[in-house]
């Protein structure tokens, strides 16, 4: 027995060593294959291979070595870091269910994500950020088999008028934005407390009343894009099928009246004496007359 033991151990060690070597080789091979992926933003071409060092330095802590969002800091964070292996992204200029464009990811890396722990990475060079976009893509094979969606077309922003704000309010009512965001945009609609993300974690709707910037940008065009394409992975759906491009601007202007900062739209709403529509009022009329008050 005694003589056999070392043999067995040696054998086990050999097997383990063989396994670890072979699995490491497979992983290395796959990773190498994926590391050839590129990202294109403007005239820049990003190479995943060139981002490995920056990713390890700046991103791994939260997003993890494997890009699965399980970095060592992840347990302390809410919202959780994105799991890149799933290739589901909130901030897209493309239809729901499709991959974002490289520009979309580049914007996110540069902008950071408001009310999360994702900071702006604009201090890195443009080239370094495009490389990181390619690196983010290398974590999922979806980028090999599928093309990015087509970005939606956003018409030029029209002038804000009282009529547009009123039409926007009617849309807010008809599309039932208030079911989650609340009639005054205070994130207190009847469904607000029950929302979960795609990993079944609780998630809050955007509170227009006390937040100025959105996760996916802060400009009017960003706001337009957010509700038209939806935020995949969250309860926020795409409204593209049911809102015409011009109408969408009406909704943008109305939403701006709900926010804390001073905007031209808010000034007009004040002059109009615009009040939130009571969703429980009798059948919504086709015109957007403010009906009664709502607490």
């Amino acid at each position: 027995m005694r003589t056999q033991e070392p043999k067995l151990i040696a054998c086990a060690v050999a097997v383990l060593a063989f396994c670890s070597i072979s699995s490491a080789q497979v992983t290395k091979y796959q990773e190498d294959a994926n590391l050839g992926i590129e990202a294109h933003v403007g005239k820049l071409t990003g190479h995943a291979r060139d981002a490995a060092l920056n990713y390890r330095r700046y991103c791994t802590g939260c997003h993890g070595d494997l890009g699965d969002g399980e970095g060592e800091n992840a347990m302390w964070l809410d919202p959780k870091p994105r799991n890149f292996t799933l290739a589901t992204f909130r901030c897209r200029s493309t239809a729901t269910g499709t991959l974002p464009t490289d520009e979309d990811l580049y914007e996110t890396v540069g902008r950071g994500l408001e009310t999360s722990n994702m900071p702006s990475w604009n201090p890195l060079s443009d080239q370094a950020r495009v490389d990181l976009v390619a690196y983010v893509k290398h974590f999922s094979d979806r980028w090999k088999t599928e093309k990015s969606g087509t970005p939606i077309e956003i018409p030029a922003e029209p002038a804000v008028t009282a009529q547009r704000i009123k039409a926007g309010q009617a849309l807010f009512q008809r599309l039932e934005c208030w079911k989650c965001h609340g009639v005054e945009g205070r994130a207190n609609g009847p469904s607000a407390d029950t929302l979960t993300d795609d990993q079944n974690r609780p998630i809050k709707p955007f509170n227009f009343h006390d937040q100025t910037r959105f996760k996916c940008g802060e400009t009017n065009r960003d706001l337009y894009r957010i509700f038209m394409t939806g935020l995949d992975g969250t309860p926020m759906p795409s409204f593209m099928d049911n809102v015409k491009p011009d109408e969408a601007w009406d909704l943008v202007f109305y939403l701006r009246t709900l926010q804390p900062m001073q905007t031209p739209a808010k000034e007009i709403a004040k002059q109009l004496g615009l009040r939130p529509i009571n969703p429980n009022a009798p059948a919504p009329t086709s015109e957007s007359k403010p009906e009664g008050e709502n607490k």
């Binding site: 999922s140 979806r142 599309l175 469904s191 990993q199 939806g230 992975g233």
Partner: protein, 240 residues
Amino acid sequence: MIPATLLSLGIFAVKYSVHAAPPSGSSITGTIKLEGTPPHQRPIDMSKEPACAAVHKASPVTTETVVAGADGGLKNVVVYISEGLSGSAATEVAPETPSWDQKGCQYIPHVMALNPNQHFKVTNSDPTSHNIHPMPQPGGPNHEWNKSQPSGAQPIDAAWQSPEVAIHVKCNIHPWMSGYMVVVKGPYGVSDEKGSFKIDNVPPGSYTLTAWQESLGTQTQKITVAAGKPTAANFTFKAK
């Protein structure tokens, strides 16, 4: 939009070429039974959506995780051929375009079976908005999407590209709404309130037949289908 149109045109082309082949084969019929006491189905409180609460005033609705009749017949079980299909039988796309309706803040049907690339229509019969949010396995071959569908909106046309058992569908506005789309290759059947199902156009051969129920899991059995003769196959699920 343009790629989507091209895609659907492509699918139509496939559909018609498949359609040209005459349907052949036998049918598999059977009954799905539930053994034991059906689990309690929780009543659904729709008071947050008065329009839907009003619809169900007379007969309140419950969850539908297990729907069993008085005689034990189990509804909403998808029966399909999980092994043994070959050639066109495995790739044929059913020509129907089934509807997935949102009515009274419930999904009708609660469970729908589909082939990969078989188109379906999502409709909203309610006076209220829904968001239709199918949630395939994250990172899998099908991808989550999430669209708002206000009252009176046009139907949404969609299809799943890969088999998946099963895709959970939910509405975030009405968290009680729950349904499943089951995407399988080849012919399929879904059991009715008596637990009966029928699968048509099965070519003769030996197969593994699988029955899937949303909370009781799957069961399989081997069957042999002879030419021109209906084959019987029954399943019994045990209540957990």
